[in-house]
């Protein structure tokens, strides 16, 4: 539900509108729902509106947790000489 995609803000205009880029795709969207945006920020885009800023720190932290999840297994495998 709620297809939303992170996209980068490339232009902000004063009228609650912005241009976002997703790779080379550009689309005009509304920023009426989010405050304090700057060019370069990533926002979650849903039906033509920015819903929320994407936090780079939290994204990195989540990826780190996912990577660590398997770490103990790697160590165990190393100890027992098991194949992955």
């Amino acid at each position: 539900m709620c297809l939303a995609i992170p996209a980068k803000i490339t232009e902000l205009d004063g009228d609650d509108m912005a241009v976002v880029a997703l790779e080379g795709i550009k689309k005009r969207i509304s920023t009426a729902l989010v405050e304090d945006l700057a060019v370069g920020d990533y926002v979650l885009v849903h039906v033509g509106y920015a819903l929320h800023k994407v936090s780079p720190d939290e994204a990195a932290r989540t990826l780190q947790l996912m990577a660590e999840a398997g770490v103990l297994q790697d160590e165990l495998d190393e100890m027992t000489g098991a194949d992955q």
């Binding site: 539900m1 297809l3 995609i5 080379g24 795709i25 550009k26 039906v47």
Partner: protein
């Protein structure tokens, strides 16, 4: 028929019922617009039917109706699309295309300037491909009974000896090759569609594939299946083949080439690129031993630079197309009921 002083001004004005009446207006339209741009020795014979020399081999014929909207899009138009589409259908039989026909159904009120633009585009496409448009037809329908212009093209070609490309030759164990990036055409069309517009450099990949096919057949005359994944995308084409040949297909998602922009546009709109139309790509099935040679031949051609091995034919009573996903799971790539629509959920 050569009219010295055509009264027709192709740059202003639009199609009216007289143009389809068969009288002088029709003749002027044909001479000043169609024949003027599409000129070639056979067309210039000036007869209703084209007289052709004997063919040096087994004949292949294919026909297509083109009703696309918008008529003009980034990377092409209904005219070039029609030419490339039929050339490709003939090429997918492993044949060398020799001649094309073009029939037009025009809606009353269709701008002559647009028609000329389309015909010029067809002339260019045919010339680049080295295949003449040798005969054609024009009809006009009342306003409201057509969508601007409908074009039907038929192509005639010849299959070299020793070449037998046909869907029932698909057998388990064969390699599946794809000539390049998927989804360009569909995304280019969508980007211009009302209420969906987005800015992109993506252009339709519409192109004639027969010289690419010729190179591939040279490398491996034993190629078994060739298809161009147009409407319905790669998924539709592979499902058709699996169903008809009664085989299964296994794909690797990570091996399927796609431009980052096309992938991004699909993500934005909630589309699966596997179902998005292409107009300048082909899939090829061949014996595993031939795969390297065919791939090399594809990559050596401008239209096959991004060619890749994307899967294999399997044994499967259910005739399914399965795919190992990006994360290593498996999903079925089903045959969609209708056109894929953008979604918000």
């Amino acid at each position: 028929m050569n009219i010295q002083d055509p009264k027709l001004s192709a740059r202003t004005g639009s199609i009216d019922m007289a143009h389809g009446g068969g009288g002088r207006a029709t003749a002027e339209l044909i001479a000043d617009l169609f024949q003027h741009h599409l000129t070639n020795p056979i067309l210039d014979q000036g007869n209703d039917a084209a007289l052709l020399p004997p063919a040096a081999g087994r004949l292949v014929m294919s026909t297509d109706g083109h009703v696309i909207s918008p008529i003009f899009f980034p990377g092409g138009d209904i005219g070039s699309l029609a030419v490339h589409g039929t050339l490709n259908d003939v090429a997918m039989a492993g044949a060398e295309p020799l001649y094309l026909t073009a029939g037009f159904i025009l809606e009353e009120g269709f701008p002559l300037a647009d028609l000329e633009r389309i015909v010029i585009s067809m002339a260019r496409a045919a010339e680049t491909a080295g295949v003449p448009i040798v005969t054609g037809d024009t009809k006009v329908v009342e306003k409201g009974k057509g969508d601007g212009v409908f074009i039907t093209t038929t192509g005639l070609g010849v299959v070299p000896d020793g070449v037998h490309v046909s869907v029932e030759r698909a057998k388990p164990g064969q390699a599946i090759l794809l000539s390049g990036n998927i989804g360009d055409h569909g995304v280019a069309i969508l980007s211009k569609r009302e209420n969906l517009e987005f800015e992109t450099e993506i252009r339709s990949d519409s192109a004639a594939l027969h010289t690419l096919v010729a190179g591939m057949i040279s490398a491996a005359p034993g190629i078994t299946v060739l298809r161009d994944p147009t409407r319905g995308g790669l998924a539709a084409t592979l499902n058709e083949i699996a169903r008809t040949a009664k085989v299964g297909i296994h794909l690797e998602e990570n091996a399927i080439p796609i431009k980052p922009d096309v992938k991004a546009a699909c993500e934005l709109l909630g589309l699966d690129p596997l179902y998005v139309a292409n107009e300048g790509k082909l899939v090829c099935f061949c014996e595993p031993g031939d795969a390297d040679a065919v791939l090399a031949a594809m990559q050596a051609h401008p239209l096959g630079r991004d060619a890749a091995l994307i899967g294999t034919v399997t044994e499967d009573d259910a005739h399914l197309v399965e795919m190992e996903t990006e994360i290593g799971g498996v999903r079925v790539v089903d045959w969609l009921a209708g056109e894929q629509l953008p979604r918000i959920c």
